[in-house]
């Protein structure tokens, strides 16, 4: 039994569509089998919510009178520096940007109380944000300095453009050393005292679309509480990662670059984050609807936590020194039970990405589709697949002569 996307969209328009979340689909496929599930279910919705550092906002601030050329100048929002290497009124604010005067890790572990992610949250919340700029004057852009309060609704285009979100699987971080360490995977207790993971597992978008059939350039998605689109494969997209028999990557693999109108978004699904000892970030809610076109899609979206494996990585040694060592794999079912075995020790686990929020997003997307607010799209072009040969590469290491490595 196969369906076309157009048939599914027609059902959405007529209010006849059958939508379940990826979590519910596990049960449907277990009870009825993939063939029957493919007949019954039209769309499976996914969701994830967690800190995604490669996130930021492209914004056009409008032109001041007299005009000022922000491009090539220096711009801050609430003291947080934004990138101003574009045209006169365009800037990009990244989630990890922090004020110059932030002490960082000088007082270790640093608190990183306010950064780009928080400015984005403030904008979404409708709060005033202080824009300050200093630049050089030109004949057409004479003004050199500027300070003004701005709010999101007063600006022109403001869109979230995240170069890397929705990682298809990720590491489980542990700490083999004898001191607490502070990482982007949270605080890790010494001597294998904690294991932190961050994927939503069976609810996570790309575990339900392991070979990117539904998810490609142009796919319409849920982003930060509004409607967004997949813009490109994400940075570090590495679809060729080792996979299980069912095609599920056993470590970080596919990623997505996503885009969406910030003015549609909400602080419920977009939050600034302070990661102690590491920096600031942005918690992003992401959800992708997957059309159940055939039995294969039904089987894939029926994947459960017990079938998905993640690699255990030591963040005190292997990760910082970029050693490939993996200390073993465990399933998301084990991770969600509250503890795993690592090198003979029982280690408590912590998720870091919010499973309740992931579920909420999948439910919300289900509602949107059920009510006809969201129709599905086929990718305009695919992102590189498992057989593409595309793989993440390390940084080139060709220091200029006369410089020594640190």
């Amino acid at each position: 039994m196969t369906k076309t996307l157009e048939e599914i969209n027609e059902k959405i328009r007529r209010g006849k569509v059958v939508v379940v979340t990826a979590e519910e689909m596990v049960e449907v496929v277990r009870e009825q089998g993939a063939a029957k599930a493919a007949q019954r279910v039209d769309v499976v919705t996914t969701g994830t919510f967690g800190a995604m550092c490669s996130s930021g906002v492209m914004m056009n601030l409008g032109h001041s009178r007299p005009r000022i050329k922000l491009g090539g100048g220096r711009v801050t929002l609430n003291g947080v520096p934004a990138y101003a290497g574009l045209a006169a009124a365009d800037i990009y604010l990244g989630a990890t940007a922090i004020p110059d005067e932030d002490p960082r890790n000088a007082v270790y572990p640093g608190e990183f109380r306010y950064g780009g992610g928080h400015v984005i949250e403030d904008l979404v919340a409708g709060r005033q944000v202080l824009l300050e700029a200093a630049t050089y004057g030109t004949d057409c852009y004479p003004r050199r300095q500027l300070a003004t309060w701005i709010t999101l609704e007063e600006l022109n285009e403001v869109y979230l453009f995240n170069p890397r979100n929705g990682y298809q699987n990720y590491n489980i971080a542990v700490n083999r050393s004898d001191r607490t360490i502070y990482t982007y995977m949270g605080t890790l207790q010494a001597n294998l005292g904690s294991a932190n993971y961050c994927s939503a597992g069976q609810l996570s978008p790309l575990f339900n679309d392991p070979f990117y059939r539904a998810t490609g350039i142009g796919t319409r998605i849920f982003l930060g509480g509004g409607i967004g689109y997949v813009a490109w494969q994400g940075t570090q997209h590495s679809p060729g990662a080792k996979r299980t028999d069912k095609g599920l990557p056993m470590g970080g693999a596919g990623t997505l670059a996503v885009i969406g109108d910030l003015k549609q978004m909400s602080v419920r699904h977009l939050r600034g984050a302070s990661l102690r000892g590491y920096g600031t970030s942005l918690m992003v809610g992401l959800g992708i609807p997957i059309p159940v076109l055939d039995e294969e899609v039904a089987a894939q979206t029926g994947v459960s936590d017990a079938e998905i494996l993640a690699p255990i990585v030591d963040y005190s040694e292997a990760y910082p020194s970029r050693e490939p060592e993996v200390m073993g794999h465990v399933s998301y079912a084990q991770l969600k039970s509250g503890s795993i075995e690592v090198e003979g020790k029982t280690v408590p686990t912590t998720p870091l990405s919010s499973y309740p929020r992931a579920r909420e997003i999948a439910e919300l997307v289900k509602e949107w589709i059920g009510s006809g607010t969201l129709e599905l799209t086929a990718p305009v072009a695919p992102i590189p697949g498992a057989d593409s040969g595309v793989a993440v590469r390390p940084m080139p290491d060709h220091p200029p002569s006369g410089t020594a490595a640190e």
Binding site: E111, R113, T187, L188, A190, R276, M283, T350, P356
Partner: protein, 136 residues
């Protein structure tokens, strides 16, 4: 002058096996009352105690603790979780030494059990969205 302080002692793993409290009594004449303790030989330890003694002795004792790598923190009254702000990520659960912060399974919602909380405030700085608040 006699003083009494309620404090949280954080022991790094290397110190957890050493008789620190013995020194507080013998070398600094402090009277101690342990309110809560969680110490393993390989893990970081945590002890909540009331310390009483001469102010000068108490000050010397805190210097001694600092030299041994034991972090000393005043015991706060109360930790509150702002449920509106909390996103249930669990960063606090991973650092909570008294298991006062836990996941309610299978919903995976973070819950705070005030009776188990020792108010060490580890969760306050660990929370990425600042949903944990200290009240005095």
């Amino acid at each position: 002058m006699q003083v009494t302080h309620r404090v949280v002692l954080h022991f790094p793993p290397a110190v957890s096996g050493k008789p620190i409290v013995y020194h507080l009594v013998r070398d600094y004449n402090l009277i101690f009352n342990i309110l809560k303790a969680s110490i393993g030989l390989e893990d970081q330890g945590l002890m909540v105690m009331e310390l009483s003694g001469e102010e000068a002795d108490y000050r010397k004792a805190t210097d001694f603790l600092a030299k041994r790598g034991v972090r000393l923190q005043p015991l706060y009254q109360d930790i509150r979780k702002d449920d509106e702000s909390c996103v249930d990520c669990g960063a606090c659960v991973g650092v909570c030494p008294s298991e006062a912060l836990k996941f309610e399974r299978p919903e995976m919602k973070v819950v705070l059990d005030p009776d188990s909380c020792v108010a060490c405030a580890e969760c306050v700085t660990a929370c990425p969205v600042r949903a944990m608040k200290l009240t005095f």
